[in-house]
């Protein structure tokens, strides 16, 4: 049955297409096309009215030409004319042309919309579907404005044909994605959710895509879909393969619908209703069981469809991350797939296991597959599979297996594909630092890295090894010895020369006792590489030489001679020439003392990891925790779960590490630059006038969160990749917070996603977030608005979780949002008499909270006043008999109640102490405000 012959043959079109195919060259093709375009133009412009068939034929030819990649600038009007034809095939071609070639010519859109409107109201299902397809294909804002009101009605109307319902559901989804503000579900919500119960499987399949998208944006309004989805899923999972007739695909019942149901459930936490949850767990177990059954067909379609459901079920299990039993079963199943003969399954198993590795329940189970994964890295023929294996090794690495994994990755690097080498190098560098028990291992690893893949070792990596060596005197001698040996190689990478030059310049003395590495031998070795190196490396070597003069006076004459040579002192490069001249002069006129002072050993880089490591060791076992390497390129998981506040503190202290771009040699600035990088400060500085000091203090404070108790704007978080600025305003019990995410790198962040979570059960705050675009370009800043409603007084702050991929690696950052109860203060002015009267009224012991504490900052009056005003209360003058004391009053506005609050702060400048007293009508409020404020002075 060659349906093509069914009476619609457009002979002219077929001839034209074969002509094009017969063209021998691009030129001939263009010539033929231009001829045809001229022909069509003349037909369209001609006096004779074209009949529908010719119009259709020419429009179709134009479409063909456009799809070949040529521009089409006419014919739109004729296509629009076809829309109102009453011949189906003409209408169809008209719609196709519009769908493919629409432009925002507003005049045309009006005409198109008119034709669509007619078809939608035609009550002819075929025409209605064509119109809906066109809206879905174009999806423009103008169309949303015109039809977003009408389509939900079509979708839920009782007399709408099934096929029209399906198109309407997906059409609405498309409009919602393009213009969410125009699609208001409101009254339709529950009827749309109930489409999950529709008799017709096709309707459910289409509708669930819409419901999933709407649920992910408004989970609360759609939460009734959870139980419906579970029962639908349960019916499918338990059905026999023939029950669903044509919705069974290669013996698998309704794979598309099953996957969509499982995906919908991933918009929600595990069901709270025990019965629903039980049923769902049963479904998931059945799906896992079915994976063990022998296949009902040998066809790959059968196993693909079956495993598609299995992987989706595993995604849901990982999403819940609460059923250890299911997680371990999922892991075992994936373990089987790791050795499956189907490459696709091996690939997917490696990919899925990466996420399983980060769950505390399944991390150990994933680790048992280490040999298989290493084997995959070595033997897979397909580079994309090897890439997944490398990702998984990285994800499953912890202290127990770090040495093995790093060794395997290093040996793989020797033969790795060029496309993934840089990423591999970063991964090795991060793991080596993260899990370094002894630093000689770390130094060996990085030097090996440079030896094997020097071209792919970015500056950050070799800066880092130098920072670590400088900061740890136990490894300096070893490092000097090792680089000295590495430099013996006849051909060694320039990065090795850089590290060698720097380390020998600082610590060459530690190995100078050995005659085989005497000062002169060291110098000659370095200088033998000099002429092969680039300018920056030569500059570094010159600095190493002057350091040698200080370390080893016996080399002075030799080195001065080198510096004095024309190739140095008259070098055409200004930087090199200047260094040569200055170093030569310095070495000849400065006394030994001066020389020793100027060329003193580099001071340690501001340390952070020791304190963090200690903290992490206390907090968590290996694996779940990670130390960050500020390589600016790649980061592991920042938080391994657990104490979020602690994670924020780690993140904050990361910000204080020296910038990788700081001049390591300290030639331009005497000491390593501490604090944020210059670019980091400037990124947001124009937005917030007060961000300057905040940016630098970001790393100093123990908890970024506490810095915002008395202020609303500033930099909340900063690391080498990302800066988060915050600007917030509060009125009554409502607040609005603007978060600014700044990408500090030059590379885009992908899958950028932020979520704000809060103890939902307690219902204390109502937090609404708008999602941000998943792509953040390098150097760009995106904004997110969070609306907050305070329902009753609270202690815990909402958590902000940020996830994105940077250069392939998943970044995960958790922070406390600085929403504190005092933000909802309304200042209250009152006279002394009033104040004392109220103070006395609040005299029950539980109404008062008091703290006596030492001043941790200066006790400057203006600063104190600014902080108290920042708290949100009114600062009452001339109330306290002692002018040194401060008293404040305010009312905390929550939806449930208002809580009056009085405050008294008594500084004792001599003892550098404060006494802080809070009284309010609610004991929890007194305590919380007192706790928060006590941290501020």
């Amino acid at each position: 049955m060659p349906a093509v012959s069914k009476g619609d043959g457009m002979r002219g079109l077929a001839v034209f297409i074969s002509d094009i195919r017969n063209c021998k060259s691009k030129e001939a093709e263009i010539k033929r096309i231009n001829k045809e375009l001229a022909n069509i133009r003349s037909k369209f412009k001609g006096d004779k009215a074209l009949d529908g068939y010719s119009k259709k034929k020419y429009v179709c030819k134009l479409l063909f030409i456009f799809l070949l990649g040529h521009d089409i600038d006419f014919g739109h009007m004729e296509a629009v004319n076809l829309l109102s034809s009453n011949k189906y095939t003409e209408k169809q071609i008209g719609y196709l042309f519009i769908s493919v070639l629409v432009n925002s010519n507003s005049e045309l859109i009006r005409l198109i919309n008119n034709a669509i409107k007619n078809d939608l109201s035609s009550r002819n299902p075929t025409f209605m579907c064509l119109a809906l397809h066109c809206i879905a294909n174009v999806g423009s804002r103008e169309m949303a404005e015109a039809f977003a009101g009408e389509i939900p009605r079509i979708l839920v109307a009782g007399d709408t044909m099934d096929s029209v319902k399906q198109s309407a559901a997906l059409c609405l989804l498309r409009l919602y994605k393009a213009s969410p503000d125009l699609v208001l579900m409101g009254e339709w919500t529950s009827r749309v959710v109930h489409l999950l119960n529709d008799q017709h499987m096709g309707v459910v399949t289409a509708a669930i895509s819409l419901i999933t998208c709407l649920s992910s944006k408004n989970p609360d309004e759609f939460k009734t879909c959870v139980s419906l989805a579970v029962s639908r899923l349960s019916r499918i999972v338990s059905s026999a393969s023939t029950d669903l007739q044509d919705y069974t695909y290669y013996f698998v019942p309704a794979p598309w619908l099953s996957c969509k149901l499982l995906r919908l459930l991933q918009c929600y936490p595990p069901p709270e209703d025990g019965a629903v949850k039980g049923r769902l767990v049963e479904c998931l177990e059945t799906i896992l069981n079915k994976a063990q059954e022998p296949p009902k067909s040998k066809k790959v379609q059968h196993s693909n469809a079956k495993n598609a459901i299995l992987f989706e079920a595993i995604s849901l299990i990982i999403h819940y991350d609460s059923e250890p039993n299911l997680l371990v079963r999922a892991c075992n199943q994936l373990g089987q797939f790791l050795q499956h003969r189907e490459t696709n399954l091996r690939y997917l198993a490696l990919e899925s296991m990466c996420t399983l590795a980060s769950s505390e329940f399944s991390h150990e189970a994933v680790k048992t597959h280490i040999e298989t994964v290493i084997n995959a890295l070595k033997t897979e023929r397909d580079v994309s599979v090897r890439q997944r294996a490398a990702d998984l090794l990285y994800a499953m690495c912890d202290r127990s297996n770090a040495k093995q994994i790093v060794a395997e990755m290093l040996s793989y690097l020797e033969t790795a594909d060029y496309s993934i080498r840089e990423e591999m190098v970063l991964k090795v560098a991060i793991l080596a630092e993260k899990y370094a028990v002894d630093y000689s291992w770390y130094v060996d690893t990085i030097l090996n890295l440079i030896r094997i893949a020097g071209d792919y070792v970015s500056e950050e990596v070799w800066y880092r090894v130098i920072q670590i060596v400088i900061n740890r005197d136990d490894v300096q001698g070893y490092a000097a010895k090792t680089v000295f040996e590495a430099l013996q190689a006849p051909a060694c990478h320039e990065n090795m020369v850089k590290v060698g030059g720097y380390i020998l310049g600082e610590f060459g003395n530690l190995i100078a006792g050995d005659p085989r590495s005497s000062p002169l031998v060291q110098f000659n070795l370095l200088h033998s590489k000099f002429h092969l190196c680039s300018v920056p490396t030569r500059a570094l070597l010159l600095s190493a030489y002057i350091k040698f003069i200080n370390l080893f006076p016996e080399t002075k004459a030799t080195i001065q001679e080198v510096l004095r040579s024309d190739s140095q002192i008259r070098n055409s490069d200004v930087e090199l020439q200047q260094r040569a001249v200055e170093y030569l002069k310095l070495s000849s006129i400065a006394s030994t003392d001066v020389l020793a002072t100027v060329l003193e050993e580099m001071p340690p880089f501001p340390e952070r990891e020791s304190s963090i490591l200690a903290k992490l060791k206390k907090k968590k076992g290996p694996g779940a925790v990670s130390v960050e390497l500020e390589d600016g390129k790649e980061r592991g998981e920042l938080n391994g779960g657990g104490d979020r506040g602690g994670d924020a503190a780690i993140a904050a202290s990361n910000a204080s590490t020296p910038s990788p771009s700081a001049d390591l040699l300290g030639l331009r600035s005497a000491a390593p630059v501490s604090g944020a990088t210059p670019s980091a400060g400037s990124l947001l500085v124009d937005v917030f006038s007060e961000a300057g000091p905040a940016a630098t203090s970001a790393g100093v404070n123990d908890d970024g969160f506490l810095r915002f108790v008395c202020k609303n704007n500033g930099v909340l978080f900063e690391n080498q990749l990302l800066q988060i600025g915050i600007k917030s305003e509060y009125r009554q019990n409502l607040g609005r917070m603007y978060l600014f995410y700044g990408n500090k790198t030059s590379v885009q962040f992908v899958s950028f996603n932020t979520t704000v979570s809060y103890e939902i059960k307690s219902r204390i705050l109502n937090v609404q977030t708008k999602t941000v675009e998943p792509l953040v370009e390098g150097g760009a800043q995106v904004q997110q608005v969070i609306n907050i409603e305070c329902l009753t007084d609270f202690i815990d702050a909402p958590l902000l979780n940020i996830k994105f991929r940077y250069g392939g690696a998943l970044q995960n950052i958790s922070l406390k949002l600085p929403v504190t109860i005092n933000k909802f203060f309304q200042p209250t002015e009152m006279a002394a008499a009033d104040f004392f009267q109220r103070w006395k009224q609040l005299s029950q012991p539980q109404q008062e909270a008091q703290k006596i504490f030492k001043a941790s900052h200066g006790m400057d009056t203006e600063v104190l006043k600014a902080k108290l005003l920042g708290l949100g209360t009114a600062l009452l003058e001339n109330v306290d008999p002692n002018p040194e004391n401060y008293v404040c009053a305010g009312v905390i506005q929550t939806k449930a109640q208002q809580v009056g609050c009085l405050l008294r702060l008594e500084p004792n400048a001599q003892a550098q102490m404060y006494r802080l007293t809070l009284r309010s009508s609610k004991d929890t409020v007194s305590q919380r405000v007192c706790d928060l404020l006590a941290e501020q002075f």
Binding site: I93, G139, K177, D246, N304, F311, N344, Y347, P774, G808
Partner: protein, 152 residues
């Protein structure tokens, strides 16, 4: 199954069908087509059918001389996407009867119509081959026939 685009191209890299489910500027489309063809055609035989490209998952499969290639959101299900491609091939096959590249070249508009019945806005609209074939045939029966006389 949110698909961003579906491309059909030949072994020589000639584009036979392109469907964009999200708005993409023309210039960007050309770049994507170029990237996809070079990437996919450069794959060794018996490699896996999945790739990562920017923040999308690429799923492709070769049927005779034609490559079917689609781009998906990062959280989408690759295996299911493979079967979307397969179902589309089955639909083409049923319609044309032993479909080959030439059928798609000469009847490209049909290939688009069939696709619109199956996928809409990048989502699967209907999965039943019977239902789909019936509606495709039904519209073929309408060819050249005035369906309802219009009032104007």
């Amino acid at each position: 199954m949110t698909m961003h685009f579906l491309l059909l191209f030949s072994r020589q890299g000639k584009l036979r069908l392109q469907k964009w489910f999200t708005p993409v500027p023309e210039r960007e489309k050309k770049k994507i087509v170029r990237d996809m063809t070079t990437m996919v055609l450069g794959r060794k035989p018996r490699s896996c059918n999945f790739l990562h490209w920017k923040d999308l998952k690429i799923v492709y499969k070769k049927y005779a001389s034609l490559y079917f290639c689609c781009g998906l959101d990062a959280e989408e299900n690759e295996l299911l996407a493979l079967e979307v491609l397969h179902r589309y091939v089955e639909l083409l096959d049923k319609y044309f009867g032993n479909v080959c590249e030439l059928d798609i070249i000469f009847n490209f508009e049909k290939a688009y119509f069939i696709l619109d019945e199956f996928l809409l806005g990048g989502e699967v609209q209907e999965t039943s081959k019977q239902v789909l074939s019936r509606s495709i045939e039904a519209s073929d029966m309408l060819q050249e026939v005035s369906v309802i006389p219009r009032s104007r």
